[in-house]
Structures are given as C-alpha cells and as structure tokens.
Amino acid sequence: MPIQVLMPALSPTMEKGNLAKWLKKEGEQIKSGDVIAEIETDKATMEVEATDEGTLGKILIPEGTADVAVNTPIATILADGESAADLAKAPAPKPAAEAPPAAAKAEAPQPKFAAPSAPQAVAEPDLEVPAGTEMVTQTIREALRDAMAEEMRRDADVFVMGEEVAEYQGAYKVTQGLLQEFGAKRVIDTPITEHGFAGIGIGAAMAGLKPVVEFMTFNFAMQAMDQIINSAAKTLYMSGGQMGCSIVFRGPNGAAARVAAQHSQDYSAWYSHIPGLKVVAPYSAADAKGLLKAAIRDPNPVIFLENEVLYGHTGEVPKLDDYVIPIGKARIVRSGSHVTIISWSNGMTYALKAADELAKEGIEAEVIDLRTLRPMDTETIVNSVKKTGRAVTVEEGWAQSGVGAEIAARIMEHAFDYLDAPVTRVSGKDVPMPYAANLEKLALPSAAEVVEAAKAVCYR
C-alpha cells in the first residue's frame, strides 16, 4: 500500500510551516535517508528525509506552499511493484489529535492579538500610542528582535550575549539578523556556561555597559541564580546606592510543549520574590516590544520572561520611532463588571478564552494583563476588584508561594470589604511537568478551569 509522507514538525511548538522546495520529482527512486524536500518556518529550515524506500508517487503539496499544517500528507511513496493506480489506496491521514506534536497543542487555544474579535471586549486605550498611529502586524519574536535592534542602534553600550545568539541566529530565532547588523563584537555567542556568562554580563554592567543576556530558556538560568540574585539584584543596596547594574536577562520561561519537567518550569514567582529585580512578562507583541525597550533602558536588573509558545503569534505593533511602555503598569485588556481575571504572559491565553466563554453565559469578565510582576500594579487590580467584587488569578506556575497567592494577599489587604467571594487561583498542578501529552495538558491550567473558577466566585 502506498505510504504517506506527512508534514513534519521542526519543534514541539510548530503548528505549520512552508514547503520550500521539492528535491525529488514524481517517479524518482527514493532510498531511506534521501532528502526529498525542504520545509521552513520563521525559525528555521529543515530537510525532510525519506524513511521508506520506493518511488515518489505523487506530490500532494506543491513547493512554495505556505502555512502547511503539521501532519498534512505532502506526498506518497510507492513500494516496489506498486503503480500510480495504487495511489487511491493510500490510508487516510491520521486525525491530527492522535499525532503527538499536534496533540500537545490541540487544546492550547490561539491567542487573539490581531482581532479584538469579541465585540463586547473594550480594551483600555493604550496611552503610549497616539490616535491614528499606523500598526504593523508582527510576531512576538520579531517584536523582541526589533526592540533589541532599536536599542542597540540608540546606545553603543548595549550588547547581546548568550548561547547561539549570533551565528545560529538564536535558538528560537529571537536574535535573528542582529549579528549581521551589529557584528560579533556586540552579538556574542557564549559557551554553554550560564553561571559564568551571567557573572561576566553582570561584571560588564557594573563597569557601565548595558548587557542583554539571553538564556536559551530560563530553566537553564537556575545555574546562574546566584549571580542574578546575589550580584545583580543586591549590589546597589549593598553599595549604598553607589554601584548598580543595568542588565536584562531574557529568554523563554515556562512550559513549551512536550519537553517535560526540567524544561517546563515557570519562574515568575521565583524572580518576583526578589527586591532589587524588576520582572516583566508580556503577552502581546506590542507589549513585548515596548517593554523590552524599557527594560534595556532601565538602570536596574530586569528579568524579562518570554514564552516559547507565544513567539510565533502575531499582533499589532504601533509603528512609532520609539515605542516604550513603562515597566510596572498593568493593562485592562477586556473590561467587565462581574469578575476580575488577572494573568500575564501565556496565562492570558486561558484568561481571554475563558472570558469569551463566560460572556456566552452572561458573565462579563474584566481581564487584566499584569505585564510586569515586580513592581506589581496593585492599584489596577484593586480598582477592578472594587468594581467586580470577585477575582480569579491564572498562572502556569505552581500555586504554593506563587504570584496568584501574592495577588490574593494584596486583594485581601486592600479590598477585603469589597470581596463577595474568596479569591480563587487557577494554576499549574502541584507536580513536576509530565511528558505524556494527556498528562501535560492536565498539569497546565485550561480555559475550562478558568471558566469554572469564575463561575464559582460568581456563585453560578
């Protein structure tokens, strides 16, 4: 029976890609291991190797096709003795939900940056953007890259260092093109040595430079934790204000997809615990750009938590010469009067989807994107809760000593008399992240859990 070749995934978070080129023609003989096609995403290019022997029967997706979903059949291979007439017998493609990479994403809802699709959602106007500003559609990855590039053009003391940031163009392609524009002096590949290069970056910052240190993921930054906390965060205080450290530590934080416990941790609570650090965790492309620019300019050490799942998502970014968003300001992304849902980074995905669901049942949720975890914008949270009387926090990290716990405490301290129900937390489950697709899905928060929590605090 003819064998189907499926669109492969380059990474656990890839959902679609372009079929760049066919290297074999229909009717050509194929041996196992032959490169038959090239596929690409905005992150990388990969060769597709045949895993079976035979003849390339039919090309189902012509070269140059963009946005081919993972697991789409792209060609069929005929075994010896089979002919084109057998093509009709090719098995139907497996349902995507059964294929591991897609399954992990099956439930992960798509964020809705571009289209404020829910008509009832009235976002707070963005004060940094004058009316009539032209908007450009960008991925978060591009927005982050542009933020760094703009700051590097503006200030010769800004440089980027980290693993694979230069020649490889970034493990997640966030630093794409920086080496070409700024050269190896300012875009520096480091050895795999987080503790060491974090310390070198901090030392350089103490001497007055403005490093942007990329961690390939924040999971690896645990190796550098001592330098970040003891050297970067505390020196200004310990020196009586004499010597500080203007440095950004950035990289993907939290769960990606199917990479298990050691690569799937959310460090929001860890860093936001530390006086001396600022902690930023944006959700939208515009915030990613404006806040990273602010972080690079900030004279303090800033932890900039990105999210791998969000890198490829697009949003509208204001086309301004210098779009800088102040650190420490939350944003009401959707206004409502029945319950306040507070989240940040990828947690917003669940929060916004839940708000859509709740609206269908007549519950109008106000959704706050914290954007900055330290300093936390308590005022925006408290004002909203005074209006709604109910609050649900959403985070991918663990509940114990988490950011949600902190928000709950602040609401209790500042708005206790306004509460009509206990503050409820939706969080990652209290387990290391499992690998199996179904268990991973269970370990993460879901929109359904947010809906359930919101209804519970509304006594519905």
Partner: protein
C-alpha cells in the same frame, strides 16, 4: 577515608624559584612599608573593635597577606579595576579608599562606604575602581572577567585584577570564567591568594592540583607561582602580567603564596594548624619585617621608620574614632537604594 594529617609547615617561598626579585628603590620600599603597615594596623584595630562588639557579623582579617595587594597595586595605573572576595579590607586600602569610610562601614555607620548597608564583605568605590567586596566564594571571578570584558569592549587598555583564594579556586564558575577570558582574550589578572587554608581546610585536603598556577593550563592561560610574602616579587610578577594583559594577550594567573596569621574569621578556633606553624611564618617571612630590615640595612634611620608608624597609627586611630562616633544610618535608609 582517613583525613590527611595537617600540612607540613612548609614556608610559602619554599615553592618559588630561587633568586632575588629586582630591588626596589628606596622610595618604593618606603611606600610599600607604609601601605602594608596601614593595612596591618587597620586590621589589628578592626580585630580590637570586633572584640569590643563595635563590629558585627563576619570580619575576615588580611594580616600576613599585605604584600600581595600592595605589590599588585604598585604595578597598576589609573583606570585599572580591582575586585575581590570577602577578605577585602586590605584591597580597599591599597586602592586608596579612605580608612575612615572602610572602618565606619565595619561598624555599620552612615559614613561608611556603603552607608552602613554593606558591611565588611560588601564595599565598593566606583571612584577608586574598587568593585567589591563579594560575599559569595568565587562569584567575584566571573564578575572580574566581566570588568575585563568591558575594557575589551571599549577598546581601552585597562586591566581587571581579580583576586580570589585557594578555596574559591575550586568553584566551578572560576573555570567557566577562565574559559571565556582566554577565548575572548580578556585583560584580566587572576590573582589566587593561596594562604593555604580555605577556612579550616588546608590546600592538601581540598585540592587535587595544589599548584594553583597550573589551574589555567587546560585553557592555555599562563600561570606563575610568586612569593607572596615578598612585595618585590609580587610587584615584579604584576608588572609582567599587566604588560601581558595590556598587550592584548589575554588573562594571566598569578598564584600568590602567602599566609594569613589570623583565623578565617574572628570566630575561628584555629584547631587546624599549630601555633608553631603560624609563628614560624611570622618570624621568618613577615612581609613588613622584610622591607623594614632592608631599609635598616640601607641606612634608613629608625627615626624615619617610626615616623611612618606614627602616621599610620594616626590614620587608623582617627578612623576608629570616626567609626565609633558616626551615627548609624537614618531609619529612612532602609528603603533607599533598592532601585535607582
């Protein structure tokens, strides 16, 4: 596994090459004497104040090791940076930081270099290019490489002198920093102050490779063992190392063979070595006595040397007086300097 016996009391200079280092001029001898004496008298006073309860927390004295920082500093120029660990009072005085400000920091007063918020292990002077004062063993090594990175980035010819001890030399990030320093040819001098004890653990009980000058071999970093009790030998080694760095040849390791007379900190019971061992080094190799004897042999009068003693004592006494009478920081200081 049986713990090895206490290290034999071999004197530091037993391991160094024979032959005398280049002679100092009389002016250099006098300066070295004065600067080393200032550190010694300062540390003796700090020890007294600690005993009186005026200094709290940890207090690590530098007595015995004075020739290392004084000799190194004599080879530096304006713009060169210095960074070290927690045994840092001597380094601060050597870079020209004022005794008053250092002592007032030890007593936790507002006139201290960190306004009383850093203490013994955490003091800085941007003006004097002293970058701390770091309490986590080995952390200053990566930071020092970072200072050198900044020099390299800016294309100036400044050198970052990064001090750490034989104990810190076993930390992982030291080798991460060695690797990057050599890879990027950073102008950093790694000064390993081998005083033979990491707290209470002798080098022989903690280090598989006890020749610290070889610790950079696998990274191709040149290293030299230096008699750290002879300020002339230190200065000569420093001159070479500084020239190497300024020429863009990358890092150098200098193992300074030295000795601390006092305990690791003020609360050290000193059960890990004999009193005889300490006395022998003091008697045979004291860095200050070496200079004093050479000066006397060169017909400098006792009177002149006593004048130096007096000047140093005045500075130290004034610093102690200031440090005990300066007010504590205002309560409002609790909340300042977290962010800028």
């Amino acid at each position: 596994m049986a713990a090895p016996k206490k290290a034999a009391a071999s004197t530091p200079q037993d391991k160094t090459n024979g032959g005398s280092p280049p002679e100092f001029t009389k002016e250099q001898e006098l300066k070295a004497l004065r600067d080393m004496l200032l550190i010694r008298r300062f540390e003796e006073k700090a020890g007294q104040l600690y005993g009186m309860g005026a200094i709290g927390g940890f207090c690590h004295l530098y007595i015995g090791q004075e020739a290392v920082v004084v000799g190194m500093q004599m080879a530096l120029k304006d713009g060169d940076q210095v960074i070290t660990g927690y045994r840092d009072h001597g380094h601060m005085l050597a870079t020209g930081m004022e005794a008053k400000g250092v002592m007032a920091e030890l007593t936790g007063r507002r006139g201290g270099y960190s306004k009383g918020k850093g203490g013994s292990m955490h003091m800085f002077s941007v003006e004097k290019k002293f970058y701390g004062g770091h309490g986590i063993v080995g952390a200053q090594v990566s930071l020092g490489a970072g200072l050198a990175f900044a020099n390299h980035y800016r294309g100036n010819d400044n050198v970052a002198v990064t001090y750490f001890g034989d104990g810190a030399a076993n930390q992982g990030q030291v080798y991460e920093s060695f690797n990057m320093a050599e890879l990027w040819k950073l102008p950093v001098i790694f000064v390993i102050e081998n005083n033979r004890y990491a707290m209470g653990t002798s080098v022989s009980r903690a280090s598989a490779q006890q020749d610290f000058s070889k610790r950079g071999l696998s990274f191709n970093i040149p290293g030299h063992q230096v008699d750290g009790m002879d300020v002339r030998a230190v200065k000569a080694a420093a001159d070479e190392a500084v020239a190497w760095c300024r020429a863009g040849k990358g890092p150098v390791i200098l193992e300074m063979q030295t000795y601390r007379y006092r305990g690791h900190s003020m609360s050290d019971p000193a059960k890990y070595r004999t009193r005889e061992e300490v006395e022998k080094v003091r008697h045979d190799q004291d860095p200050i006595e070496q200079v004093r004897n050479r000066l006397l042999a060169a017909k400098v009068s006792e009177q002149d040397l006593k004048a130096i003693d007096a000047e140093v004592r005045d500075i130290v006494n004034a610093s102690a007086d200031f440090a005990q009478h300066d007010p504590e920081p205002d309560a409002s200081e609790l909340w300042t300097d977290v962010y800028r």
